[in-house]
Subunit: 411 residues, 4 copies
């Protein structure tokens, strides 16, 4: 069965199991001319990799990425980028007791029931180890998005019932990576860390959530209906292992807010930098309409408004816990008591922060391509590249020159 790819023009296809030989991602839809190195990808993988702190699994994976194609002399060539990350520290032996006795609330039984078999070493294909592929793809999307002034940031805003106070985008950028919990509010991060320790010492685990926000996503992304921005983002976020809720804008709270309170009046945006463009075109008396607030979360009618997009994603507690639980062995027909000892995260959001950011970057870039805002063929970055008269010289990327053969011949 399929299920190993997402994206329409920026398309990511993946493979790999947590204790198999390697993880792999194939990324198509990357325009030529982007400067890209394995280090660019590695930087993001290092943020996701295990063993970063006491509150993450101690599995010793270097997560070293190798790029097999699509890059030449340090620049992308427009062809698919194949990446591989070897699994180095797979120790599947300790999972043998669970081959025919499913761990509580894992995918063990659903996989075995569906497929008749499964990669029983660790979570196999259902393991969050798969997200190494997503972060690798996101690293490429991020490099492109940044060229267009798009920024994305996420931080852990709740663990158990500890809720972080609201923080600004700048605080998220500054503080998130400073602590192992990846909460941008340092004091709350410390409280969260202590709470996580408590669960861990009890052999238990706990849930949490991530808040995300964007800057610079242009107006007009998202297609009416099934390819609306929230529909695609919702799919992507709910594909992350162990997520149980996706919200954007006021999210779940919107149910208790009156129309007059949530609705936002329009005013003209007469800021200097925008009006200069108006002067040039000369066809509008004022700047663009702009909403007075952002309870709409950057999306109206399924299409981005140009305001920041923000929302939350929730994770349930990790299911791998040392506490004693009961299962049944379908081969012997006997009940048994088990303990899932191993190298597991006691809480998921801290390591999921780069995953959420990666999925946002991939989703945004896909929409940028669909809206014709990124030249799908080339970025015109590479020195000495060929410029053909036939080819539009990337007007999307180069606002000044647009000598294109593809100009309309009418009117």
């Amino acid at each position: 069965m399929n299920g190993n790819q997402f994206g329409r023009l920026f398309r990511v296809t993946t493979y790999g199991e947590s204790h198999g030989p390697a993880m792999g991602a194939t990324v198509s839809g990357v325009p030529a001319g982007l400067e890209l190195s394995e280090e660019d990808v590695q930087r993001e993988l290092d943020r996701r990799k295990p063993g970063q702190s006491m509150i993450t699994t101690s599995r010793g994976e270097p997560d070293a990425v190798v790029i097999n194609s699509g890059v030449q002399d340090g620049y992308t060539t427009g062809t698919p980028i194949g990446m591989v990350v070897q699994n180095k520290d797979a120790r599947s032996g300790k999972y043998e007791p669970f081959v025919t006795a499913p761990r509580p609330s894992h995918g063990d039984f659903t996989y075995s029931a569906k497929f008749g078999t499964r990669n029983w070493g660790g979570g196999g294909r259902s393991s969050a180890r798969e997200t190494v592929n997503w972060v690798a793809a996101g690293a490429i999307a991020k490099k492109i998005n940044e060229r267009f002034g798009i920024e994305v940031k996420a931080h852990v805003n709740q663990i158990d019932d500890i809720v972080a106070p609201d923080v600004t985008f700048e605080e998220m950028v500054e503080h998130t990576e400073e602590n192992p919990v990846r909460c941008a509010h340092p004091e709350t991060a410390e409280t969260m860390r202590e709470r996580i320790d408590e669960y861990q010492q009890e052999g238990d685990s706990i849930g949490g959530s991530i808040y995300f926000e964007t800057r610079g996503v242009p107006r007009g992304l998202g297609a009416p209906r099934f390819d609306s921005f929230p529909a695609r983002l919702g799919q992507t976020m709910m594909a992350i292992p162990a997520t149980t809720a996706f919200e954007f804008g006021l999210g779940r709270e919107a149910r208790e807010v009156a129309g007059i309170d949530r609705n936002e009046d329009w005013e003209f945006d007469d800021s200097a930098e925008r009006s200069s463009a108006d002067d040039a075109s000369g066809d509008k008396p004022r700047g663009d309409p702009t909403p007075v607030g952002n309870d709409h979360g950057g999306i109206q009618g399924g299409i981005t408004t140009g305001e920041p997009i923000y929302g939350e994603v929730t994770w349930h507690a990790p299911t791998s816990i040392p506490k004693e639980q009961t299962t049944v062995d379908w081969e012997t027909g006997e009940e048994k008591r088990i303990q899932v000892v191993g190298r597991h995260d006691p809480v998921l959001p801290p390591r999921a922060v780069p995953v959420v950011e990666a999925m946002l970057h991939c989703t945004i870039l896909d929409f940028m391509l669909l809206a014709g805002r990124v030249n799908p063929d080339r970025l015109d970055d590479r020195p000495g590249e060929y410029d053909t008269d036939y080819h539009p010289s990337s007007p999307q990327n180069d606002p000044d020159g647009a000598d294109t053969h593809a100009e309309p011949t009418e009117d």
Copy 2:
């Protein structure tokens, strides 16, 4: 741009604007041999159509469906089913003030900014009128799902801060359609109705949410990762106009639940009806493992467990309200005060109940087809149909006979 279709094997493609000539849906992936009439579809459309009560828009649309293809002599033929619903009561004139002055928090401006123009009569393509197409498609999916024992039900479980107490699936089936709010708890429904009236009389609107639940969805639906059951359901639900949150299982609450509390032990399911199958196969000493609870919401590792799937979807308050608001006219460059008077719903979930059910049916059937549980070619219902030796006589549908040429030739 695309965005007008969803589903992989059961695929729905739509068109239509709220004040255009007609709405249309093309449904492909319907096996041949299903008994299907326009009345089957009409029954569901009537549940969604406007003008059903005081708390819904008074727009007078009969929403009469015409089937243009794919059905012969009362049975489907396996070819695409084209359906059209004419718009009869479009009065777009009253929207003229808003052509160049966007209504607050509608898609007016994002559409105009993206496309340079828009169907300014009502919400155009962003109108919830589009869901008439979805309900039509869902009616077909429902007929097939029911053959396999699959049931789906939704009801309004919260309006403003009025929360309905938990109800059983049977109560949902029995009571939801009895009141205009479509809340399965009659007393709460009455309280909700009064609250809605209050908002309506103030020229305001309010948000709310829907709880949904399934019965009979078999184990094993959903593919690992991007086609996981929650990923696809999340996409579908977030495509419904005005939704801001999607949750399944414990949803947003999962963040505060410990692993040991959410995890569910396994026990054997030794119920009579299942063990009979075991006796036949003789290869398992006991019935299937079954979880002791359903905090997992019917899904583990992205794949259905066979337990009920349940969750919630949240709607923000309708943005069309008679209360005075401020906007700007981009043509004149002037601010102006406006009132969106017209025929609008003061709250969305009551009419969205059949939409949520339709989208669940479509999503489930799509997964049923992908898992090989529904014969994609034929249902073998039609009397006198041709049975070929070459063709597998629909083993998926007929558990007794499976004379198929397509049998493996090895072992």
Copy 3:
């Protein structure tokens, strides 16, 4: 089952059977701002419709198209365009003898064997009547392509063993529509018509082929490998009912040509109009490399070279013939002699000329969108449309102005 759509960004979804109530096409991916009327579509449908001459079926179908969505005030809005053509002259009664006795070499038996049933009135879904939908979609693609200087023309170059001499593109444009055979060489057309008459009078039918050619398709369309230009065009042409061969460039003859004879040297294109662009950019000493010939058929490495694309498509003889043939009745178990009398074409290519042109237009436009050469959101044609600072003012369409917010922020 699917199978009723093609295209990736310009996507056409269809339904309808030859004797069902109506045919329908939904076209998504049409940018906003295109001037479009039902007459634009009707003009092309009239070229395909039956009853145009003695050598086409006499079925009396006006093939009048109705546009149900996606157009407002004469311009497209960027939302899906739904079109319906009612079937007016369906007389399925005469097909009753064939319900359980398949006509030789039709799809009767494969449909019944696959689906257990079929629309037995005429060819049902397998009828070439379906191509009315394709021509409707192609009419829209053509309007857009023409704005970019792209032209497409096809004519009948062989019927039976009568081969038309080579004609120029201009001759094809001028002469093809002058005769009922649609052969651009008038004398050959007359010979072909006589030959067709002979077959028709004998109650028989005959095969033939179409030659197609393009002008103005820009360099750079087509993605490496499975989305190469010939791969997608091959799929499209082989989807046309009754086609048995697709060739481009030297086609089947290429097997007998040596590398040195087929290979084409490169020279500089120093034509005046191109070098002006060179002067502007100043980064190339000469014009673009250009091949000295076009045995490559406008495609190298799966990507267009800017030279004309040309090729041939072959149709087998129509299977509906009045001559007596033998079949079997699977219900009675008896052989029987039948005659397929009715209103049938004695040869297919003449009516397929507009179909081939339509499919070329759809395929080319899809590639234009994928290459970022057509703004997917808007064409900027509509008077008074909204121009937002956020939105790139369609640099693809307007080579002069490109004030875009989406400019890269680096370098």
Copy 4:
């Protein structure tokens, strides 16, 4: 841009350039339970690999495949299969003269013009080296198809103007691999080899074609219209590098055949093995209708009839030839004479035989899955696999037992 994947349920995604680090294929849609080893894949790769004889390139590639995922203990697990083949003998240095001076009739210039850059080592992404990925995927499809009695064979039936006489399927199986030309008619093969030698010694190359045929493809594969069997097969074959024509059945010759000659009467198939099934079902007086001939090439109405599918694919002469040719250098603005010396095939079909077979296997399996004839989740081969009461025990694969929870509840 995309273009690196094909298939709908059996989906292959690829990457790699001829002189890049490695080639890679990700195959999704492989049911669990298939016995699969690297040797199974290697066997097919060895048939395609370079250096097999004097008439193939002498590039020294072992083409050793590594399977990175989707297989455990020798059986597939239902998750994506990631494969990598390292490029060992890349010597891109000799291509340096061509970086800014495109070789005649290669993809050099179209790639550079489209992307601004390209992998200039060898053909980069446009190289036929990519087909190593396709053959790897086809090896998996073949293993599954063989279980269902499906066989595929291809051989070289024409080189230059040397045409092989018709051969039987059995002769193709027996003789094709015996000679380096891969022509199943030994004497013709020898003549072809001599002719190829002549071209090679002149520093030239020549075209040719492949004939393919199937056995055991069941009736009912292919969906009406765009997913018809010939449409999908046409796409696949035209995606193979350097192909210029695709034909099936009578192919191009069909244009000269009368309807009465091509049409095939129906008779009952009363062969013993089929009638036994009839006896069991008891609902038909005779065996299935079967056509008296196979001019239709195994496909009617776009759907397979159960008869052998056959056709031809044509390749133009390889464009890499040592003979002196002229090109231009876009950097210097000068013409220059070049010779493409290196390790190149003087003719393509001999090495393309396993590629055609692979693409046929992939296409057929994809259709088998779409028609519900192969259980998409599992093949029930693996010893000791889990059999759940909920899950249909693969009725597609096991005609005897079908204890399924997914049975219809009506009738």
